[in-house]
Subunit: 177 residues, 4 copies
Amino acid sequence: MTTQLIVLNGGSSSGKSGIARCLQAILPDPWLTLGVDTLVDALPVSMQSAEGGIEFAADGSVNVGAQFMALEAAWLAGVAAMARAGARIIHDDVFLGGAASQQRVKDALDGLDVLWVGVRCDAAVAAGRELARGDRVRGMAELQAEVVHDGVTYDLEVDTTNAESLACARTIAARIG
Amino acid sequence: MTTQLIVLNGGSSSGKSGIARCLQAILPDPWLTLGVDTLVDALPVSMQSAEGGIEFAADGSVNVGAQFMALEAAWLAGVAAMARAGARIIHDDVFLGGAASQQRVKDALDGLDVLWVGVRCDAAVAAGRELARGDRVRGMAELQAEVVHDGVTYDLEVDTTNAESLACARTIAARIG
Amino acid sequence: MTTQLIVLNGGSSSGKSGIARCLQAILPDPWLTLGVDTLVDALPVSMQSAEGGIEFAADGSVNVGAQFMALEAAWLAGVAAMARAGARIIHDDVFLGGAASQQRVKDALDGLDVLWVGVRCDAAVAAGRELARGDRVRGMAELQAEVVHDGVTYDLEVDTTNAESLACARTIAARIG
Amino acid sequence: MTTQLIVLNGGSSSGKSGIARCLQAILPDPWLTLGVDTLVDALPVSMQSAEGGIEFAADGSVNVGAQFMALEAAWLAGVAAMARAGARIIHDDVFLGGAASQQRVKDALDGLDVLWVGVRCDAAVAAGRELARGDRVRGMAELQAEVVHDGVTYDLEVDTTNAESLACARTIAARIG
């Protein structure tokens, strides 16, 4: 069986993007990396900080509104269609709603062969990396570190607290069909 | 009838992205902007400058290989599915193959209500804007200015040579159903 | 006499950066482009949105505090020293305080051969370009368009309302000693 | 005695920028971060890949020409002047010439109170991080990992192979006068 999608779920600054780029570098086939950041970048600028859209509050909390949810559902339908049309996709996500978020993604990807990967990172370490990046609202990493895994089930989990992105990618790559 | 997709086709530095952002700002509904740049960013880094992938040569020419074409086809299938699922999408593209490129996009978007927009810009002016941006390979603007419109048919055309992005966006918005 | 510095002063989205890149491309010697954006990027992230530092308010106004002013004075002393050491420099600035801002820069650059250039752009056009860029707080362009030129004296002025960056750069380049 | 400059020297992808941002976040005074990347961004685009300027070759090697060296000397004179004028500065550098590079910087910063910090990272680990970043030419990290420290003397050294940026920053901060 052939893995069609890799879903990486983890909090902000847990290291998902780095793992995705390493996966793209070491996997023999070309994989596309898409994720919630791609969707946010595609939104009207006004929706990137608004009621109804997605709001990154000063305390690090993220609030999503009804319009964002509707667009995200359409987006996921599109990602599923890309995979059905033969593209292999790394989907980089932040399950702010834990199990409920996973269920929505699961429904959208129904019938596809998905590898579900949890990307964990100790909250304090992720907060330090958020500081080192300097391009994210402070507080997101800590607020999201645990909650995004709440009730979520995985095929495998990696932890970037003490492991490099490349090592995590190799662990994941070994599970790709 | 409701416009589901706006396809903006034009050469590099013709002003498509600026028009897309203005459209997002002035249209009452939220529209997603996706385009060939989004796809290129989603590729493995190695495919962004490689045989098989997409290669931006030093003289400004762009060469796309078989793997890129296959991924682009899957990508377009996904964009179509997003639109069918209710997202309104601005698709920002560069028809390097002119009419043949348009046919591929047309096939992918079959059954959807699409507004086809040509974004023209005088080659010398586009070359000057490429210089002013400083983030694109020099020569692309001039090489692409005419060829991307070769045999392509539009619902309307705008020309950024002497018109601001916002004015072009208003012209397009007036045609949205 | 040899021009050692070109100071470009204009409001946000008036086109200074594009002109600077065109100048760098057409002038025979290598010129460095530095400006207030370089300084802001060099600040601690916390000072980029804080009392004491520089604050970009939601309405487009920009407030600078005492710590920012002190660092800016040191920064300008450094830019002057670079020019005295032989680097040719394009200094891209926004004189929020009009004539008083120019005086501070003038004092810092004392003894150097400076070409003072005003970069004008109609406020409504600049506001449209701000929308098209999508990466600046809305409102800055309009608020700054006139006030930054208040009482400021120039060697020459260019107006990007109806002229391309490259054409403006050529006008400026013709005045470089 | 008051530390006026912190010089961070290390190879590409060794973690200098992350440490610099953490230092800016934890130090009580505002510090500016400037470095060789700031200078490269200030260059004409044409010099960023050219003979005479600075060339990032496909194999990861970096070649600097006479024009770059002259501009770098003027740049360093400016950084020294900023520090003398009261700005506290983190200078982030890559001593491609080892001890000879350090001597040039030392001469430029003569009379200032400088804390010299070596930022080490195991070559293989740095190469993995380069892959995870995806925005640097592959090979730079490995080629630079050792050579930039050749004959260089430090006040202290940190090693990011097994330590987070924030922990390294705390070690450095403890030495700031």
